[in-house]
Structures are given as C-alpha cells and as structure tokens.
C-alpha cells in the first residue's frame, strides 16, 4: 500500500541545531573569521544533506500489515509489517508507529489511547535499522494492550530523521484493521482451584460409558488383542467362551462459571443500559479476567468448563473440554459488553458452581459449605499467581514477599 500523506517537521535535534547554527552565524558575521564560515557551511551542509536524504530515504516505500489472529490483554502483542522499497536508495533508522486520527497529535484524541479507560498505554512501535533499496523487509512493532475487546488499528506512521535528526519526514498509511484482544489471563493458585474442586462432589466423576480404565461396566466377548488382564476367567469358565471385562471411562469434574454482570443490566429487554464509569468498566474487566483465568486453569487441569453470562448478550456455553472450546469461551469473554441484556432469572438446566462478579470492594468469599462459591473481581490478584517483575523483586523485596504471604494466607483461609 502506498502512503496517504507525508509531512516534514523539525527533528529531535532540530532546536539544538538551530541554536548552534544561529550562534555560529552570529560569530561568523561578528568576527569574520573564515574558519567560522566553514563551520557555518558545514551546518548548512548538514541541513541540505538532511533534506536530500529525507526525500531519497523514504521514496518509493510501500507497507503492508500482516494479519494478526488475536492478542491477550497484559501480554505483548506483536504486529508485523512488510516493507518494500521500490527505489534503489536504502532507508535507515525507520520507526514504525501505529497511530489514530489525523495530524501528529491525533492519537491523543482518537483511538485506544484516548479511550477511558485506555486500551493501550503507548502506541505500538517498531524499528527498521536498514531497508535495502529494491528489497522487502519484515518489521515488527510491539504493544501491551491492557483491555480486552476489539483493538481497532487505523493508520501506520513511518518516520525517519536520518542522518542528523534535524528534520523528520513522516509518511502515513491508512490501513484500518481490528485485532481481538482476549481477556487478561493469569495462572490461578492451586489452593484456589482445590477449593473450587471440593464443591463439585469431591474428586473425579465417571462417565456411564465403556472404554475406560476405572470401574466395571459390563462383559463382552474376547477380541483379539485384548490384554490377558481384562479376561474374566470366572465367567469365561462358566460360559466356555472367553469374556473380557469392560471398564468405565473417567470423567473430569465440571465447572460451570457464571459471570454475573446483572448489576449493570437493564431491568427489561429493550431498555437502555446505564453508562458505565471507567472505574466500573475496569471492574468488569477484572471480573472477566478472573473468569478467563479460571477457564484456562480449569482447561489445563482437565476440567470441563461451561460459561454463562448474566447481564450481557451472550449465549450460554455448555461444559466441554477442548482447545477450540476454550478459545471460543475466551473470545466470548473478549466481546462481553455489560448491560446489553437483562439479568438471567433462572439458569436453564445449568447450575453454576462458581459465580464471578465485578469487584464490590468486598473481600474474597469462598464458602465451602455451599454448592456455589462467589468470587469478586477484586480478588483477582489474590487468587492468581502474582509474578512481580525481577526488577521489582530486586528493588523492593519486602513488598514482593508480602504479596507472596498474602496469597498463602488467602489460600489457607480457603
């Protein structure tokens, strides 16, 4: 794709250059020292070289953004690009930045950085040190989305201030695209998952189905290849035919999660949902993140997981265990919009074992005596494995240790 627009502005060293050039001009005129005229000429030469290079270095540049499947909130999202330089002149130090809106400060008024709360903390930025003339080059820009949902990409900005940083040429490509950002996923502590497991009749269930390795299900005729261990010698002796025992299949426990967003739901269908404050949206995101974390951890542990959402227009997903199923639930959670449907009055055939609600300022509530536990989005940090960065550990070991102790305390309480 060819650039839509191009502009030139003062580079990062431009003001300093202008200051030194003004000083050199004054000194040259004042002293009439010939060496100063050479210095002045070199400064002018730097300016001319910058202008020439800005023209040549970004000439014949086309860009294509490679498709991205999805990203995860709080994790690095890598956007990839393919650049092609049609002219023979190489390009150096080209910075690739995603931007929104028009003008140099457009991204501050439009796009994910202008939303409240923000979807991104900073614009995705990448770097091409050298782009050979006539050849293609792949580059990547990283960003860390902090909210789930659709990340709308609008424009890609390429700029270079090579060779001296005096002037900067910016070319903008209009390339609208959407990237789905899954909810933030953390690893749930083992104690918390154990607490959830106890609620579900304790331990593993068995499917009423043959082909497993658990308990006796029925007898059948011996088939070639059956192990000698499975032959029921007693019945075989009675009947005179070799009979094999069939055992039941193990079934993992089922976890039905209800994401309860009914606090933000309209009273009746068709009514307008209340406008949520940024803090409330963040609370919803935390609840969704906790739900997603439970789903992922349950999938890893071997649970069959289902999902119900109250107060949002989402179809109930029945419990199942597979990777596409998990992905489907995560994508559903990514799209959850609170207040788009009334609250669920009665769950049709499915009883939630875990209810997750947005944070209400309360503490963690795990009540083993009941069949259902209630979790709040505020307890996300307590329920999930807290991995402080290494730098934080080095700088503030006390705080990190406190965080670890908190997790253990919560777990023991559970």
């Amino acid at each position: 794709m060819k650039p839509d627009r191009s502009r030139v502005e003062l580079g990062p060293t431009g003001p300093m250059f202008l200051l030194i050039a003004a000083l050199a001009t004054g000194v040259a005129i004042y002293t009439q020292a010939n060496l100063m005229f050479i210095v002045l000429g070199l400064l002018a030469g730097g300016l001319v070289a910058s202008v020439l290079w800005l023209w040549a270095g970004m000439r014949g540049l086309t860009l294509e953004r490679l498709p991205v499947a999805h990203g995860v909130a709080g994790e690095e999202l890598v956007l990839r690009y393919q650049l092609l330089k049609h002219s023979r002149m190489p390009g150096f130090s080209i910075v690739i930045t995603e931007t929104w809106g028009k003008g140099p400060r457009g991204y501050k008024r439009f796009g994910p950085l202008a939303e409240k709360p923000q979807r991104l903390l900073a614009r995705p930025t990448g770097w091409v040190m050298h782009l050979t003339g006539g050849l293609t080059c792949q580059a990547q820009a990283s960003c860390w989305p902090i909210r789930r949902g659709k990340l709308e990409l609008q424009r890609v900005e390429l700029h270079t201030d090579f060779p001296f940083g005096l002037l900067r040429r910016i070319v903008v490509f209009h390339m609208p695209e959407e990237v789905l950002i899954l909810p933030r996923i953390r690893r749930v502590t083992r104690q918390a998952m154990t607490a959830v497991t106890r609620l579900d009749a304790g331990g593993y269930n068995q499917l009423d189905k043959e082909g497993g390795t658990e308990e006796f299900y029925s007898l059948r005729h011996y088939r070639k290849g059956d192990s000698l261990k499975v032959i029921d010698w007693k019945h075989s002796a009675k009947t005179g035919k070799l009979l094999s025992r069939e055992l039941t299949q193990p079934a993992p426990p089922t976890l039905m999660i209800l994401l309860d967003l009914s606090a933000y739901a309209p009273e009746k269908l068709g009514e307008l949902a209340p406008t949520l404050s940024p803090e409330a949206l963040l609370g919803v995101d935390r609840a969704v993140a906790l739900t997603a974390s439970l789903i992922c951890d349950a999938y890893v542990t071997g649970y069959r997981v289902g999902l119900m959402v109250s107060g949002a227009e989402v179809d109930t997903i029945r419990p199942h265990r597979s990777l596409p199923h998990r992905t489907r639930m995560l994508e559903t959670l990514a799209y959850v919009e609170p207040g788009t449907a009334p609250a669920i009055r009665r769950a049709a055939g499915e009883v939630p074992s875990v209810i997750v609600r947005p944070g209400q300022g309360g503490s963690l509530a795990i009540r083993p005596g009941r069949r259902t536990i209630e979790l709040y989005g505020d307890s996300l940090d307590q329920l999930t494995l807290y991995n402080p960065p290494e730098a934080l550990l080095r700088q503030r070991p006390g705080q990190a240790a406190r965080a670890q102790r908190t997790i253990l305390a919560v777990s023991s309480k559970a």
Binding site: P12, M16, L19, I20, L23, V27, Y30, T31, Q32, A33, N34, L35, M36, I38, V39, G41, L42, A44, G45, G46, V48, A49, W53, G74, E75, E76, L84, P90, F92, S93, V95, L121, A122, R123, T125, G126, W127, V128, M129, H130, L131, T132, G134, L135, C137, Q140, S142, C143, W144, I146, T160, F162, P163, F164, G165, N387, P388, P389, E390, A391
Partner: protein
C-alpha cells in the same frame, strides 16, 4: 544494539577528545594540552577500562561547581580581557567532567552542545590558523559526522526500547529484551556509502558557503574578545629594553611570510637575507634604558583608510617594479612590517592593505601600523620603485634613494578623514625634516667617551672624525667603517649581563664588549649620533629562511632582530646598517637540515597555503574566484568549441582524407559506438542475471562457474515471462514457485522441480552432473509443453 551503543559511545568520546585537543592547540597552551590529554585518558580508563564504571553524581556536581568557580576566578584575574578563551575553558572543563560520569541521553545532549561551542570558540582564537588545527578541525568534522549517524541509528532503537520499558513498567510485567532491528543485506556497506555521500554533500555546501558568503570588516570588539593572552614568545617588540638579562632564542613559531617578486617572478633564495622593518625607535631614555618611538615622530603620522587600488606614496615612473606580499600571522601588535635590504636605502612607495580598516604611516620614519591590533591573519602588499635592472637581488641600487620618505605628491584616498592637503603636507614635511635632524643627533649617555671611540675608528679608517657636514657618500663610508669595527671587535651573544649602575650601551662598548643585536644596534646608533650622523634603532626580523617549495621567506619569532638606520642626507634619505656579526646571527637562525628540515619545509608550505587560501580569504579573493567562475561559465563553451574546431582543422590538415577515407572513418566510429553499446548492454544483462540467480554475495571466483550451471533457471524464467508470469525482484525463487504451484499445481509442477534443482546447485553445493542435467532438460521440456497447453486451454477474459 549493544554494538551500535558501544560504537556511538566511543565515537562521542573521540569527538570530545579531538575538540579538547583542538582548543588547546588553538589557544597555544601546551600545559593545558597535556593536562587535558591525561584527564581524557583517565576518563577512558574509568568508563571504558577493564572495570567500567563512572564517578558518582554528587562528586561530578562538586567538580562542576569547582570548574565554574575557577573560570570566574580567571575572568576576574584577566579582567574579562579574553571572554572567548575563558568560555572555552569552561566548556572544556565541563566536558572532561562529563566524560568521567555515567553517560545517558542527557549527558550526551550536553556534550553535543558543549563540544561544537568549544570548536566555535577555538576557531575564532588566533591560534586557529595553524595547519595542525586545520587537520584537527577536519578530523573533528568527520568524527562528528560519524557520531551523528551512529547516534541516529542508536536513537531510533532507544526510542522504541524506552517505549517498551515504559509500558511494561506500568503493567508491572517482565521488562522486554532490547528490540532487534530489521536489517537488510549489505547494511554495513550501504551505511558507509551513505555516510560518505552525506559527508560529501556537507563538504560541498561548506565550500560553496565559504566561497560565496560576502565578507565584511571585523568588528573592533570581536578583535578584543578573541585576543590572545599576551605576547607569548620572545621576539619583536615596539620598544627595546636594555635593562639586562638573556633575551633567549625565541620560539620557531612563524610570525609572517614574505613573498618577494621582481617583475612578477619570485625573488629571493637561501643566503639572500632581508630585514623586515617594524618599529623605528629614535628616542633613548637613559633612566629607563629603553629605546622608544618619540612623540615627535608620532605627531607626523598620517591615518589613511584602506583603498582597493592601494595608496600611492609617489607617482610611478620606474622601469621595473619589485613587490612584497606579506602574510602577517600570530601577532597582537599593531605594526605592519616592510622589507628592506641588509645594507641599503629604505623606501616604500605603495601599499595596499584590504583587510585592515585604517593604516597609520609615519611621514618621517615610514613606520606602518594599523589603527587597531592585528588580531587576525591578513595579507598586504608593498611595492618599491626600481630604476634600472638590478645586477644581483640585494643590490642596494634596487631602490632609488631619491624617493625616500613620503613626498608631497602622495595620492591619499578621498576617504581619508584626517591629514592636511598636499601643499600643506609638503610644508609641514620640510619643517619636520629640519627639526628631525637636530632631534636625531641628540645623545646624552657618556657622549664624550663614545665620541672619542667613534672618532678613533673613523680616524683609523681615514675618514674625518666629524661627519655632520660630510656628503652622503662619506657618511655612508664612515658609518660602514663604524659598523665593521663593531662587527669585528665585539662578540655576539644572547646573554646581556646586568650593567649595574652604568648604562648598558656604555657597558657594552667599554666593559663587556659582547652582547646581542639590540646592543650592537644601539651602540652603532650612539656612535653615529656622536659623530654628527642622525641615526635610529629599528626593530623587526631578519628574513633568512627561504622556502623553496613556495618561493617565500618564513619569518619566525626566533628571527627577531634589531639594526640601525642612518640618514645620509635630507635629500638622499636613510640607509640600513646591521652592526651585528652576521655569521653569528645566521648560525643562530640556521634552520635544521636533513630530512626533518625537508618535512618542516613541506609542513610550512602547506600551512602557508592553508592560510593564504582559507584563513586570509577576503573580498578580493572572493571577487577573483567568482569572477573566474563567471568567466568560465560564460566563456568556457566558446573556448572549448574553439579549441575543438582548432584541433579538428589541425587534424584535417595533417591527415588529408578522400571520400572513401571519410566513409571508412565514419564506419569505424559507428562500429565503435555499436561495440560500446553492446558491451554496456552485456554488462547490464550480466548484472541482472547475477541478481536473478542471487549470485551477488558469492565470491567473484565462483560466480562464473555457478552462473554457467544455473543458466537453466534463467531459461525457465524467460519461458515463464513469455507467458506472462514474471517473478518480482523481491520474491524468492521458492516463493515464486510456490505461488505458481498453488494456482495451477499440474501446470507448474516442473517449475517446482526446477526450483528445487536450482536450490540444490546454488545453495546446496551440488554439481550439475549428468543426472541432474537430464532432469533439467526433461522438466524444461515438460514446462514448455504445459505452458503451451495452458495457453491453448485458457479462456479469454477469464
């Protein structure tokens, strides 16, 4: 990323080091140079050594405060006389301090501002005219270019990395690794080529700006702020102090260059010495024991503005002309020097000083000086009148003594602010000459003893003992006798014992009988005055070192000299006489010999060329260059066509050709053009083929063999191209084959097979043996078939 960082760090260090050294050299402070060099070495060891670290920030802050304090103290001590140099000291100290600390973006920004400021201040200091400084300035420019480019390469990565770190810090996640840049092939080569191109553009623009930007006069204040600290070396002075003590030998630092011309040709050589006249000192104070220029002479100074055509002091009626182009270097004095023979009359008849605003000329003693100190290097010209052809270069008759001094008919430029008209000036000059003679005969120090000594010498030589009423020839012969007496009887030494209570001249004549040139000149002056001959002491230089390469004299600080001028008669004028034993002086002034002398001569010549072409570039040079350029542009094509037609007519005359001959010649020319065209086309095709076969990175020795083996791939591409399947130059062979196979697997199956064979030979180091050759032939045939079939089956417009 780390390599780029390290490269930039080292380049920045080197840039600062070069800037500091250049400043010290420009200021002419060897001690400072040594200290700064040591400090920079220490900084390198601290920050780049085996245990790289940096001084703590509080210590650096204390150091910065100390440096500012020291600079303020220096400003107070020097009373603000040299703000540029003091500012340079401040930037120098701060830069060295920054080098000792850990350097981040802020520190590098500080260095990027301080270092050019220091070079700017170094460029306007008087010491910036040396060739060493010029070399350092060029190196500094190159290093700055490389540093700026390295910084740009690094800065883009830093920008991205900082953005990542900022985001991850907010998210409290693991900090990311430094981003790996996307780098294309040949990036090192292309970066170097780009750097060279950028540097060439900068140099060209700098040259154009230097040549084209109009020049004007330097402001007086600018001269004051860039003035050096003091006269640093022993050498020329505007007064002669005879108190005592050794005068030293002086430094070899060049003071001025003199290019003498006679009828336009270089004039001079080794062994032909000249006196470079500076100050004429006619008043001796027995109390201060010092020779100075009297107020009587100063009262007859004429201040003239410079004129483009110069100032003519006498109308030109000479047969030939001798001139001197003098390049004045490294001096803060006001004197403008003239040239005169060692034993001959004194006269300047024309001068031109385009770079000096106003010139003062002594009407009685012909002393030239500028109205303000000569802070910058500049050139000026002096012309002499000649009558007849000289028999030898330093023939005293070269200069007509009749035209000694400024005549009443001097042509003063119309812009002169002061000074009387021609008639009044003539009257004043006549009166002044009468008074001057009485003034210049005055001598009060042990007059009778000195007179007795001089009279004895004259008597022994056969001349009258009182020469007051003698004619010019007798006076000249008598003074030569006195000069010879001093030369033969007294010994030359640079030591001057303190005379105690007795006057140094009397002590020299009657006690020590040894001394330096100032004592010899003073003694001859005293002896001449006591026997009735007006005399004065002249200070300046003795030009004896001739540069054969450039054809000019180099005058150094160590060539400082003093001699005597005597008045032969009011009409004949003044005559120079050097009483100092010439053999001793020549031995002292003798430059080194051998290969070092040769090197030094080359260096001096290069430095002079640098000064003549760059440092002293002025309005006249600008007009000459631009005028020549204009003439080249306007007249050049005509001249070229004229030369071409002349050449062709000459060739036609030399080689008379018939019609058949012209036809044959034409055919040969056409064949040559066709051959050249074919050769060019072949080269272009070969280049394209190499690119298509991806052989550019293969060593040249292997290219030809591989190209021969891989010719089948070119054949395949040509076949595909004929059917509209063109491989874009950015697409890899594998990508191209895959793309075609995905479209029509059956049809383009041979392309995949041939591409695999291409990879085997090109990258797999397999030979195109018989088996592979057979497979290639088979696949090519199949491809030809499938392509043809595909075209037949293709639906038009599908």
């Amino acid at each position: 990323m780390q390599k780029a960082e390290q490269r930039f760090r080292r380049l920045a260090f080197f840039q600062v080091l070069i800037g500091n050294l250049a400043f010290c050299i420009s200021e002419g402070q060897p001690l400072l140079l040594m200290l700064v060099g040591l400090a920079c070495v220490g900084a390198w060891f601290v920050t780049e050594g085996p245990w790289p670290t940096g001084l703590p920030r509080p210590l650096l802050n204390i150091g910065a405060v100390l440096i500012v304090g020291l600079v303020l103290l220096e400003y107070r001590i020097t009373r603000g006389a040299r703000p540029v140099a003091i500012g340079g000291h401040l930037t120098l100290g701060l830069q060295v301090l920054i080098l000792y600390g850990k350097r981040g973006r802020r520190e590098y920004t500080q260095l990027a501002v301080l270092s050019p400021l220091q070079m700017i201040s170094a460029s306007v200091l008087p010491g910036g005219v040396s060739l060493i400084y010029a070399g350092l300035l060029i190196i500094y420019g190159l290093v700055t270019l490389m540093t700026a480019i390295a910084y740009q390469v690094k800065r883009a990565g830093d920008h991205v990395f900082d953005s990542y770190k900022k985001t991850t810090r907010k998210l409290e996640t693991q900090p990311p690794a430094a981003p790996e840049p996307s780098v294309g092939p040949y990036h090192r080569l292309q970066l170097r080529m780009t750097s060279v191109a950028v540097g060439a553009v900068c140099a060209l623009v700098a040259a154009a700006v230097f040549v084209v930007v109009p020049r004007s006069q330097q402001s007086d204040l600018a001269g004051a702020i860039t003035r050096p600290a003091a006269s640093r070396q022993a050498g020329y002075s505007q007064s002669v102090d005879l108190v005592g003590g050794s005068i030293g030998e002086g430094s070899p630092e060049p003071v001025l260059n003199i290019a003498l011309r006679y009828n336009g040709a270089p004039y001079g050589g080794e062994g032909i010495n000249w006196l470079v006249r500076g100050s004429a000192l006619d008043q001796y104070s027995p109390i201060d024991r010092r020779w100075t220029r009297s107020q009587f002479q100063a009262n007859h100074d004429l201040t003239l503005p410079h004129a483009d055509e110069g100032v003519t002091l006498r109308p030109n009626s000479a047969d030939a002309s001798a001139s001197a182009d003098i390049t004045l270097r490294r001096t803060a004095e006001q004197s403008l020097f003239t040239v005169c023979p060692v034993d001959g009359p004194v006269a300047v008849v024309w001068f031109r000083t385009p770079s000096v605003d106003r010139v003062k000329i002594g009407m009685l003693d012909q002393q030239l000086s500028s109205s303000s100190p000569n802070d910058s290097v500049h050139t000026y010209s002096i012309r002499y009148w000649l009558q007849g052809t000289p028999t030898r270069p330093n023939d005293p008759r070269l200069i007509n003594p009749q035209f000694n001094g400024i005549g009443a008919d001097a042509r003063v430029p119309s812009g002169a602010r002061r000074g009387p008209g021609p008639r009044r000036r003539g009257n004043r000059r006549r009166n002044a000459l009468e008074q001057q003679e009485a003034f210049l005969l005055d001598w009060r120090v042990e007059r009778e003893q000195i007179r007795a000594l001089a009279a004895g010498v004259l008597r022994d030589a056969g001349y009258p003992t009182d020469l007051a009423d003698a004619d010019a020839d007798t006076r000249l012969a008598g003074t030569r006798a006195l000069r010879d007496y001093l030369r033969d009887t007294y010994r030359y030494t640079t030591d001057n014992p303190v005379a105690g209570g007795r006057d140094p001249i009397a002590a020299f004549l009657f006690e020590h009988r040894a001394g330096h040139c100032e004592l010899f000149a003073s003694a001859l002056c005293a002896m001449c005055r006591t026997v009735g001959i007006p005399a004065r002491v002249i200070t300046g230089f003795r030009a004896s070192e001739y540069n054969d390469i450039g054809g000019y004299y180099i005058v150094r600080q160590s060539h400082a000299h003093a001699w005597t001028e005597v008045q032969l008669s009011p009409t004949v004028g003044w005559h120079t006489l050097d009483a100092t034993p010439s053999a001793e002086v020549d031995r002292q002034h003798l430059s080194s010999t051998g290969w070092f002398a040769g090197l030094r001569e080359v260096y001096d010549h290069l430095e002079f060329q640098w000064i003549a072409s760059v440092i002293t570039y002025d309005q006249n040079s600008q007009e000459q260059i631009l005028g020549g350029l204009g003439a080249f542009v306007t007249e050049g094509p005509d001249r070229w066509f004229g030369a071409l037609s002349d050449w062709s007519s000459r060739q036609t005359r030399n080689f008379e050709l018939s019609t058949l001959g012209y036809f044959s010649a034409g055919m040969i020319v056409i064949a040559l053009i066709a051959a050249l065209f074919s050769l060019g086309r072949l080269l272009i095709l070969r280049r394209r083929r190499m690119a298509a076969l991806q052989l550019k990175s293969v060593p040249r020795t292997r290219r030809r063999a591989l190209a021969r083996q891989l010719r089948f791939y070119i054949t395949m591409l040509e076949m595909l191209e004929r059917h509209g399947h063109l491989r874009p130059h950015w697409q890899s062979p594998y990508g191209f084959a895959k793309q075609l196979a995905e479209k029509q697997p059956m049809r383009f199956d041979p392309v995949v097979a041939l591409t695999e064979l291409f990879y085997e030979v090109r990258f797999g180091y397999r030979l195109l043996d018989t088996d592979r050759r057979a497979r290639v032939k088979l696949h090519l045939r199949r491809l030809e078939h499938t392509l043809g079939a595909g075209d037949e089956l293709a639906v038009p417009g599908a």
